[in-house]
Symmetry: C2
Subunit: 302 residues, 2 copies
């Protein structure tokens, strides 16, 4: 009998979503950072929907500061909205906790969520609490609605061969602390879609080695990665930059013709954040492959 | 140091939601079955948002048929939309599972979710999968959007003293199987809001002993319960009818003047489902109290 580990996360999702009725809207759907809902041609804004979960022992350690865990849980979702050019609006927060958990832990967690909602102008709309059996891991599941102006929406699937690939910030080393305190690239994404609209974009959550192939495949492309230009976090190896995951930086494709102007304008807008050209999209079937990155259900590599 | 068990679920939620920015919309908010979003005065439809979680060992047993578990996970959400007079639209499904779980279990679960989405005309918009540490309970967290015509929205908080209280179906005995195969009262709720609009409504998920006081309190009322008229499931005791929970029937208040006509019209519309008048709302501070029902974090009573 096959287990989830035998097939891996991406294949699992592909098998599962075939078993339920799907949203017929051409903009929406599993496979991108968020689902996109079109309220109708009269609406200048599209609605974004996102759900994301964090599990104790997987995404945070039981002794991680609860306020930072709460920040991370909400900031991951903000990062997904940013990856589509959008912003968050309303959050639904589900906690599944051992009844023996300290009340102060749950309160600190909520304070951290509140820090993030305040920072990105979002609000709590509802929630749910459930117990888990004694000894089971705590689960924090967050669903949220967001919005994006119709003309600023960026999907993963609309890159073309020849488009240059960029990544914000530096990659690798998230476990040294950044994974609990990162700043979602909401301002940066907004600047990009307003000025130099990417042709495809996503956030790097499972490591470039996992996410770059996803973006390329969604766009029906291959990719070439210029390893010399990869912005490796100081003190990290190239392998860590590719595989650690939880960078929460923006990975995007941009037409060659606007790339130089964008790179020239970036430092004035974001003096403290590097922007690196790391390669390009190429025709499907050519380019290279990457192994590694985080897979919840695949065989884990170190 | 206080634990979650020390304060109980309702008090926990009240403490937590104070720690985050809240939706300023007067229609929305934690405390009702769903959050209600008003897109603006030009819109005839309101949006509903809901999140709900099921945990192995709490809401279902590890050896429960996975397809029935999937049905239940989705049907609980449909029931919440019905409780506000609305219907579901788009689902976001989060699974947190042990990587050793059989693939066929996850697929059967999704088939059950698909059964319910098909039955109630809803679609999958997105999802998330995560691993949990070995031995941890599986968690299924479902968030969904729905809608309700503006003039058919029913809240918990708008009952008045003197309004009669009704419940659909029979109460108690959910663990004998109904909790995995119940039919959300969507058609019934639609009939009610179209013909005899309740003044307050919710679904009975934690037992009448827990939920009736919630409805009354949300409406700023007390209540009187006519135990003689309580529709007890055959083979169950009154205590089970009050406390078992997971009935997923509609509990609602109706103005006295329309109650007789509604009771007279009901059997032709729903010949197989009882509708019972079980008491009335009274002024706050008068009436009675009820103990029992399901509390995830309170001391558990049998």
């Amino acid at each position: 009998m096959n287990s989830l580990r035998d097939i891996g996360e991406d294949a699992l999702i592909q098998r599962l979503i075939r078993l339920v009725p799907r949203d017929p809207s051409p903009l929406a759907g599993p496979g991108d950072d968020c689902a996109v809902i079109d309220p109708g041609p009269g609406s200048a804004m599209l609605q974004l929907l996102k759900t994301d979960a964090m599990v104790a022992g997987i995404h945070f350690l039981p002794d991680s500061p609860a306020r930072a865990v709460g920040w991370k849980a909400a900031a991951r979702v903000v990062s997904d909205f940013a990856a589509m050019g959008g912003r968050p609006e309303r959050f639904l927060i589900t906690l599944a906790l051992d009844p023996q958990s300290p009340l102060c832990w749950a309160e600190e967690l909520y304070r951290g969520i509140g820090d993030c909602l305040s920072a990105f102008d979002a609000v709590l709309a509802g929630g749910e609490t459930s117990s888990v059996p004694a000894g089971s891991a705590a689960v924090i599941s967050i669903a949220a609605t967001g919005c994006v102006p119709r003309d600023q929406l960026v999907l993963r699937s609309t890159g073309k061969p020849g488009h240059a690939l960029f990544v914000t910030g530096t990659l690798g080393g998230s476990l040294r602390g950044k994974h609990l305190s990162f700043s979602p690239r909401s301002k940066e994404a907004n600047w990009l879609v307003s000025n130099y609209k990417p042709t495809a974009m996503m956030d790097v959550s499972d490591g470039l080695a996992k996410d770059l192939p996803r973006l390329a495949a969604a766009s029906g492309c291959g990719f070439e990665l210029d390893r010399e230009r990869l912005p490796v976090t100081p003190g990290c190896t190239l392998a860590q930059a590719l595989g650690d995951g939880e960078d929460f930086e923006l990975l995007f494709a941009c037409e060659e013709a606007r790339s130089a102007a964008m790179l020239a304008a970036w430092p004035a807008a974001f003096p403290d954040l590097p922007l690196s050209r790391i390669g390009q999209l190429v025709a499907s079937g050519s380019g290279e492959t990457l192994a590694g990155g985080w897979d919840h259900f695949g065989p884990q590599v170190s």
